[in-house]
Structure formats: structure tokens, C-alpha cells
Amino acid sequence: MSTETTEVQSEVKEPKKVSEPLLSKRRKQILSDPLNEDNPITVQVLGICSALAVTVKLQPTLIMSIAVIFVIVFSNLIISLMRNLIPTRVRIIVQLAVIASLVTIVSEVLKAYSYPMYKVLGAFVGLIITNCIVMGRLEAFAMGNKPYDSLLDGFGSGFGYAWIILTVAFFRELLGSGSIFNFKVFEELGIAYQANSMMVDSVGAFIILGILIWVQRYVTGYVEN
């Protein structure tokens, strides 16, 4: 009884809305959820194609992660800023235009500053436009949330994507080529290592991804509903 009244009183006392702290509990959750509990790759099962295609070596995977984080963060921000101006009927094409512009920027920067990497990644960077994670976040989050929240969501999803593909790439490069960032680990240790050619195939990515999903669901106790 008494608590109820105090609550009402406090509400009455402070009619002015206090601005939410920069990293409130809710915002922290927006940032951290996609890293584990609601991971875009392992839980939502989006963006699988690029996780299979670019993860043979760590270096291109790292570049790819940075590119996706860049695109997802800024497209989230831009769409969120103009979310009230976009007519619902043409929203997909607007989202695509924003993503495509950002992807073009990434692609041009890559071409200018790291041409060898561009040759390896060119097609896949272009295909970020069709990456379901980016589109999914714009549709599901940025269209209905404020810019700052969207920015955080972009970072969360981007890093959620990044750590998974980096883990996959780590195992694929280690087992498939016996190296990490092109550093021949086993040779340096003086161990004769016979490369596992399945890990160089995309089959290897499927297996590692599957094991990751298995371990993650075991740890978090995730059940499909």
C-alpha cells in the first residue's frame, strides 16, 4: 500500500523526463545482446554466405568484419535519422540506397589503399549490400528507434558478426593452412603438420559454425520456441 503511494507521489513530483544515461541498462543490453544471446549468425542464422566464403584466412576476415561493422553502424545511424521522412512503401529501396552508398565507399577505400586485399575480397565486399544482417537491422531496429540507440545496435550486431567469423576463420586457417595471420605456427614450432584440406573448403566453415552454435546453445541454454 505504502509503496504504491510513494511511487505515485514520485511520479507526480518529477513530471519532467530525465534523459537516459549514455549507457543505461537498456542500452547496454542493446549493445551486448547481439554478441551472444541474439547473435546474428549463430542464433538468427543470417549472413551465413559471407561467413562461409571469406573465412579461409584471418586477414581478409578481419577486413570483412571492419567493412561490415562500418556499413551496419552508419546505415543504422543514417536510416534512423531519416526514419520519419521515409514513406513506408519505398523504405526498402531507400535502405538499399544507403547501404549501397556505404558499401561503395568501403570498396573504393579498399581499392585505393589495399589493392591486393581488394582482389581477394572485392566480390564479397560488394555483396555486403545483400547481407541479411544489415538489412535486418535496418528493418527491425533503425526504422523504429532513435539514432543513438540505432548506433549502439549497429555496433552490437557488427561485433556479434565479427567475433563469430573471426573465430571460424581462426580455426579454418589454423587447421587448413597451419597458420595464423599467415604466420606458419606449426612450422615455427617445428611440428610437421599435415593440412586438413576440408577446412579450406566451405564444408569446414559449416562444421566449425555448427560446433560454435552447439557450444553456444549449450552454454546459454537457448531453446528454439
Binding site: N196, S197, M198, M199, D201, V203, I207, I211
Partner: protein
């Protein structure tokens, strides 16, 4: 045996609830029930009848059926070794000794790895240890070459048990045959050691002071040779009469440890069929499908190459096949319908081949050679009949078997990268088996509903 049972009974309280080794109950139970049938009896409720032939007894039957291939395999490894090193005068005991020296470590590694993983999972998940690995652990070494590095055996076994089985929930839940998963893993991960174009004759190692192979020893399996330029090149092998039909039937040829001998596989098939453990439908239909496909390829080759029969034959063939298909759809019922349905599919494929004018040297290989070359018989008898991954319905078993046989020959003839097709064919049909069952059951329901009079 009474004293052994007493020992177990004495230990039992320690493992039951409240005992000091309660955590390891299922490991205890696994050993106990392996030796003695559990005391479970048919309960008063329910209509199920429990008899003594439980899963463990069934699995042991398969192991017994595998013994001929294992023993022959051990001898053959030794025999091939002495042939290749030019010591043909070696006694049978020598051959067995060398063979055992090469083969037994593989068997031990396979069982140790697999059972270790099984027991770990059973303890963590608190479920009874599954019996499936008793057979898989024996099958894995038999489909490995004698020269395989032991770490690869361990890796493949671990992969097969964890990814092929435990991920899906353990024995009885797996989609793919566990032993074939192990081999497929090595096949794609370390193709240099196992892909099957070169022979794996055991030359021995420095430990027992083995000699080098004889001059002019050329390593190629019959399958690889046939793929290169048909069966005619068999006589060019360094031992000119090595690859005769008789030798390939008996299995006195190089190859994986247990799979060379069609005869031993047939003895195993007899044991499986008499005891009712293996399905004769699958065994028969795999052989039948492979023979028919081989025969159809001979037919295609004859017409497309020699050209003695013209367009008339092709058209007649196509029309006849389509009539057969329609008749099958309309009038034929039961298991026969499944058989004729798949056969009609194969014939239509043949008709397409005839019109497209396709021909390769491998097509010349006489159909009966397909049955004895490579791992055909072994796969048909021990792999395709795996009750977990095969089709469960009678009609489905025919479709499943014929498709395996036909696909095996198809892969052999048309895929230059994979000399042997039975492994990939069985794995592929493993995936399709549930689908076949669904459609068989659906058709069954439809037929029975149409008879219903209410």
C-alpha cells in the same frame, strides 16, 4: 559365468543411487549388459514383448558377421605385402603376423577413441551407453587402408562419433552412417592418404626391417585403372594376372583392409540374413541396382560406339520405358511397385544417355565386374543395411537399395575425381531415406483411405 555375474552383482550397489560411484552408473551398466542380458521382463501393462535379443545382442551378431572380412583382411594385408616385396614363398603364418601387425593397431585405436568419447558423453548426459559403436568401431578399421596413419584413424573416429552421431543425440538418432562419416572425413580432409586411386600396400617400416617393393611395382587400384582406360588395362598391372574376376571376387587384391573380398562379405551377408539382423531386401537391391546400371552402361556403350543399332532402338527403348512407368503407376501394387518404379527411372536415364550419345571407357567394364571391384559388396552388406540410417519401410528399402547400387556405378563411371562410388552413394541415400519413408507412408495412407467405405 556364474562367478563373473557374482562379481558384477557385488559391485552393483556402488553404482546405484547413493553409491559412491553413482556418476559412473551408465559405464557400469554398459559393461554388465554387454555380458549378460538384463533382467527386464515384459511389464504387466502394455502390449510390447521384451525378449533377450536386445540391441547389444544384435550388434554382437553384426560383429560376428564382420569377423570373416577382418580375418581375411589381416591375411590379405600380409599377402599383398609379400607379393609387393617379392617374397612370394612366405608362409601363411608370416602373412597373418604382418597383417596383424598392420591391422590390429588400427582396430585398437578406433575402439579406444570411439568408446572413450561414447563413455564421456554418456557420463555427462546421464544416458545409457549406446551399443552402436561396437559395430562402428569394427567397421571403421575395415574400410581404412592398412597404411593409414593412426592419428588419422583417431581423428576420423572422433569426428564421426561427435559430429556424425552425438550432435544428433546419440545412437539411433544419427542421419549418416557413422563409419562412412569417418571415412568421408578422411577422404575429403586428407585425400592423399585415402582417396583410392593408388593402392595401399603395406611395405612395413624400419621396426621389423622390411624391404622395398619389387621393381616395376605400379600402384593403381582396379577402379582407377578402369577409370583410365577400361578393363583392358588390367593386364598391364605389374602382376599381370592380378585383377581377374576370380581374384577380385576372392579379394586377393590390394585395397582397404576388409573390403576387398566379395566372398567374405557374402558369408557375412548370410549370417546377417539368417539371424534376421540385416535386411535381405537392401543387400539384394544394392547388388541388383549396381548390376543393372552396369549392364545398362554396357548397352549404352555398345549402341553409341559400335552404332550397330540405330535410332529405332533408341525410340523403342524410350517408348517401352514410358509404357512400363505408366503401367507401374496404374496397376502394380506393393513392393513390386517400388522396384519397377526405380527401374523405370534408371531406364529413362539410360534413354537420355542413348540420345545424348555419351560414352566413356569405363562404360565397357562388364556389369559383373562392378559387383566385385572396390568396396561394392562390403558397402552393400554392412553399410547400406545399417538399420538406423536405412529406409524403414519395405518399399522404401527397395528404392533405397537400388538407388545406392545405381548411384555407385554412376559415380564410378562419370566422376573422374572419385574412383569409388559406394561410400558417397550410401551417404547420399542416407540423407534421402527419411524422405523415401515419408512418401511410402503417405502413399500407403492414401491407398487405405481410398478403400475406406465409411
Amino acid at each position: 559365468m556364474k562367478f563373473l555375474q557374482d562379481i558384477f552383482e557385488k559391485q552393483k550397489p556402488h553404482f546405484e543411487k547413493g553409491g559412491k560411484w553413482e556418476k559412473y552408473y551408465y559405464i557400469f551398466e554398459a559393461h554388465y549388459t554387454l555380458l549378460f542380458a538384463p533382467k527386464d521382463v515384459t511389464s504387466k501393462k502394455g502390449v510390447q514383448i521384451r525378449d533377450a535379443v536386445d540391441m547389444k545382442r544384435m550388434m554382437m551378431t553384426v560383429i560376428i558377421a564382420l569377423l570373416p572380412t577382418l580375418i581375411f583382411g589381416i591375411w590379405n594385408v600380409g599377402h599383398q605385402h609379400f607379393l609387393a616385396t617379392g617374397q612370394e614363398a612366405a608362409t601363411i603364418l608370416d602373412k597373418f603376423a604382418i597383417g596383424a601387425y598392420a591391422v590390429l593397431p588400427i582396430v585398437i585405436v578406433s575402439y579406444a577413441t570411439g568408446l572413450g568419447i561414447e563413455f564421456t558423453f554418456a557420463t555427462i548426459r546421464r544416458h545409457p551407453v549406446n551399443e552402436g559403436f561396437l559395430v562402428s568401431g569394427m567397421l571403421i578399421p575395415l574400410i581404412m587402408p592398412a597404411t593409414i596413419p593412426l592419428w588419422q584413424v583417431a581423428l576420423a573416429t572422433a569426428f564421426a562419433v561427435i559430429i556424425g552421431k552425438e550432435v544428433f543425440g546419440g545412437t539411433g538418432m544419427n542421419i549418416l552412417n557413422v563409419a562412412l562419416t569417418a571415412r568421408a572425413f578422411l577422404y575429403f580432409a586428407y585425400p592423399g592418404d585415402i582417396s583410392g586411386d593408388n593402392v595401399w600396400t603395406y611395405f612395413g617400416d624400419s621396426l621389423i626391417g622390411m624391404s622395398d617393393p619389387v621393381q616395376a611395382f605400379s600402384g593403381a587400384t582396379p577402379l582407377a585403372m578402369a577409370a583410365a582406360d577400361g578393363i583392358s588395362s588390367f593386364s598391364n598391372f605389374w602382376l599381370s594376372d592380378a585383377y581377374t574376376f576370380q581374384n577380385m571376387f576372392l579379394g586377393v587384391i590390394p585395397g582397404s583392409i576388409g573390403e576387398t573380398s566379395t566372398l567374405m562379405a557374402l558369408i557375412g551377408a548370410a549370417i546377417l540374413i539368417i539371424t534376421g539382423v540385416g535386411s535381405w531386401r537392401i543387400i539384394l537391391s544394392v547388388f541388383g541396382g549396381a548390376f543393372l546400371m552396369g549392364y545398362l552402361f554396357n548397352f549404352i556403350y555398345d549402341i553409341n560406339y559400335t552404332g550397330q543399332l540405330g535410332t529405332g532402338v533408341k525410340v523403342a527403348f524410350l517408348v517401352g520405358t514410358i509404357i512400363l512407368f505408366i503401367v507401374n503407376q496404374k496397376f502394380i501394387k506393393g513392393e513390386l511397385k517400388a522396384i519397377i518404379g526405380v527401374l523405370a527411372g534408371m531406364l529413362i536415364f539410360t534413354a537420355v544417355m542413348l540420345f545424348s550419345g555419351a560414352a566413356s571407357e569405363f562404360m565397357k567394364v562388364p556389369a559383373q565386374f562392378h559387383l566385385v571391384m572396390g568396396g561394392m559388396a562390403f558397402g552393400a552388406v554392412y553399410m547400406a543395411t545399417d538399420p538406423v540410417t536405412a529406409s524403414h519401410t519395405f518399399q522404401g528399402k527397395w528404392i533405397y537399395g537400388i538407388m545406392i547400387g545405381a548411384l555407385t556405378v554412376l559415380i564410378r563411371v562419370f566422376n573422374p575425381a572419385y574412383p569409388e562410388g559406394i561410400m558417397l552413394a550410401i551417404l547420399l541415400m542416407n540423407v534421402f531415406a527419411p524422405l523415401i519413408d515419408i512418401y511410402v507412408v503417405k502413399a500407403n495412407k492414401k491407398r487405405r483411405l481410398s478403400r475406406a467405405t465409411v
